[in-house]
């Protein structure tokens, strides 16, 4: 297995009024291709901040953060935007779909930044919508879909440009138990069958059980590492 995420001595702090609040302290982490990692920890522990740094939507104060051997800490905004388009798929707690776009158009969004023509884009979108089981909902708008369906559209959007990593911030946090299970099944399938590297932030122990690596954060420090083989059929 090749290393896909390598983090060394990563620090991040925020200024709150006159005070500097340290959020991440000397984070060191290596993730390998094809892993499904869950980042857990109490609120304010820095797990979402770490996820944002890995996804290139926030910048660290110091340290090294390499994705596929490329250090992204020195990139400017425009360069980071291009890098994210090529390498990162996002799944958010509240789906973050464009309400005025249909499911098809939402999924098509990342492909508009590529050189693919209309026909090729349609093929890609049709494929991922089929993968998430929403072919018959392609023309529906987010308001016409359930929470679980909206999250599946978001997963299709994260997947459509075949990114290097998929980052998911509390992907089941806004869903009922049944929908959450469907979403976790889907993420697991992506990881196992398509060999997608997934980094997921979650509060939910049931969700974390689907990951093969669980890392805990407490007060900005990575504490323990839990590696486990998946328990088939336990969910």
């Amino acid at each position: 297995m090749s290393v896909i995420v390598e983090i060394a001595n990563l620090r991040k702090s925020y200024r709150r009024g006159d005070q500097v609040v340290s959020v991440l302290q000397d984070i060191n982490l290596k993730l390998e291709r094809g892993e499904f990692v869950a980042l857990m920890g109490p609120s304010g522990s820095g797990k979402s901040t770490l996820l944002n740094l890995i996804a290139g939507i926030d910048t660290p104060d110091s340290g090294r953060l390499e994705i596929e051997g490329i250090d992204i800490t020195g990139m400017g905004e425009a360069e980071l935007a291009r890098w994210r388009a090529d390498h990162v798929g996002f799944i958010f707690q509240f789906y973050n779909l464009m309400p005025v776009l249909s499911a098809f158009e939402n999924v098509e969004l990342p492909l508009l930044l590529t050189r693919l023509n209309r026909r090729e884009r349609r093929e890609h979108v049709d494929l991922v919508l089929e993968l998430v089981g929403l072919t018959d909902r392609a023309e529906h708008f987010p308001s016409q879909l359930s929470g679980g369906q909206q999250q599946r559209v978001a997963i299709a959007r994260a997947l459509v440009s075949d990114p290097t990593i998929i980052v998911a911030d509390e992907p089941t946090g806004d869903l009922d138990r049944a929908s959450a299970r469907e979403i976790l099944d889907l993420l697991e399938t992506l990881n196992e069958r398509l060999y997608k590297t997934i980094i997921m932030v979650t509060h939910d122990h049931i969700a974390a059980e689907r990951a093969n690596i669980v890392r805990h954060l407490d007060k900005g420090v990575l504490t323990d590492l839990v590696e486990r083989p998946r328990q088939r059929g336990s969910h």
């Binding site: 944002n52 996804a55 939507i57 926030d58 935007a81 958010f92 509240f94 776009l101 508009l112 930044l113």
Partner: protein, 387 residues
């Protein structure tokens, strides 16, 4: 990509139909009001705009309310470069009630209409007017407004020239072009003078102004100087100026009003600009999460700016187009309704261009602050508050 952004802009515009409709309505009203006010200013200057460069007006140097002796005409005619001379008097008066205003002048028929070829009258009507000392001629607009027909008796109550006057309508003129005033009423100066001989002999054989047709328009300053020099030691000294300067001297009396109208026309734009800027700021604030999501996916700042600017411009320009479209029938209605005050109330070609520029300015200015905020928005910050 850009076709997608345009589609997104269109759909974003329709997300809050009530908000968009009210904003569009506000801009439509502002642009139409702006256009109407500009047209009002133009209407004020219409007389000066329509005046000829080859005509001079001679009046009493002391004031327009003082007259000049009729015999000056013969002396002016002697001057080199003068083609012809006519004369006129402001008659004033009231037609039934003071609200029925239209300009009334006493003129010497032959020379006056030679001097003003823009007043087009059929020859037989002109002949009938010349032959009838109690005759009168009226412009098409005034005739239509009051339903005057040839042969009608038109009673006028005198004010400057007291008495109950009655005139027989002998002709209806129309303008040679759209800039010609079609609201005026002309009576024979001889008719007025005959009455003055009986009622106020001291004021008989006196005229309000002389009108000079020039051989060459470029001689205007020189001839004006010669006329004034000619009567410099007479009992009634003259002030000679081009017809345009003469008309502008009337406009100058109301310059303060015009300045206020100008200021108000631009204030309307500034107010709607503030309203539109507030709408766009509110819209962009609501969509922070969406802009952050687009940026996270890989869209750059220029895409987000294009979304905001596109929406702002689409609203302002489409509303501007409707406002300009409405301006024409409204200006026509105003021209018809207030024709006696504004004989020429036409939308000038530059007015819709200026209105379109104002609509563009509204769209650009309203987009600046929200576009700036959205382009500098940090992705992680944009996600806060979603949910």
């Amino acid at each position: 990509m850009w076709s997608f952004l345009l589609r997104l802009v269109l759909r974003n515009c329709l997300r809050h139909p009530l908000r968009t409709s009210l904003t569009v309505l506000g801009i439509v009203v502002a642009i139409t009001a702006f256009g109407l006010l500009r047209t009002t200013i133009d209407a004020w200057y219409a007389g000066a705009e329509a005046s000829s460069a080859s005509r001079l007006v001679v009046r009493n140097k002391n004031s327009l309310t003082f007259s000049l002796p009729l015999y000056y005409r013969a002396r002016i005619e002697q001057l080199e470069g003068v083609k012809s001379v006519s004369y006129a008097d402001w008659f004033g008066g009231i037609y039934i009630a003071p609200k029925n205003f239209f300009p009334r002048f006493a003129v010497e028929p032959r020379s006056y209409f030679e001097l003003y070829p823009e007043f087009v009258l059929p020859p037989e009507q002109m002949k009938a007017f010349v032959l009838d000392r109690r005759g009168a001629i009226v412009g098409r607009k005034t005739a239509e407004k009051y339903g005057f027909k040839i042969g009608d008796q038109i009673p006028i109550i005198g004010d400057i020239f007291p008495g109950n006057w009655s005139f027989v309508l002998r002709g209806i003129y129309h303008g040679a072009d759209s800039k010609t005033d079609e609201s005026q009423f002309f009576l024979q100066w001889d008719n007025l003078n005959e009455t003055m001989k009986k009622l106020a002999p001291d004021h008989a054989n006196e005229v309000g102004i002389f009108l000079i047709a020039l051989e060459r328009p470029e001689d205007a300053p020189l001839i004006a100087q010669r006329v004034d020099k000619l009567f410099a030691s007479s009992r009634a000294q003259t002030l000679t100026e081009t017809e345009k300067a003469f008309q502008l001297s009337f406009v100058a009396m109301t310059e303060a009003i015009l300045t206020v109208i100008q200021i108000v026309s631009f204030l309307i734009i500034v107010i709607i600009m503030a309203v539109m800027a507030n709408t766009m700021a509110m819209t962009a604030r609501e969509r922070r999460g969406e802009y952050a999501t687009l940026k996270a996916i890989g869209f750059n700042d220029s895409h987000v700016v294009a979304l905001i600017a596109g929406e702002s411009l689409l609203i302002s320009l489409s509303a501007g187009a409707v406002g300009i479209w409405l301006l024409y029938p409204l200006a026509e209605w105003v021209g018809h309704r207030f024709g006696s005050i504004f004989p020429i109330f036409l939308v000038a070609p530059r007015t819709p261009l200026l209105a379109a520029a104002m609509a563009l300015l509204i769209g650009v200015v309203a987009a600046i602050a929200p576009a700036w905020r959205a382009s500098t928005l940090k992705v992680a910050e944009g996600f806060r508050g979603i949910g």
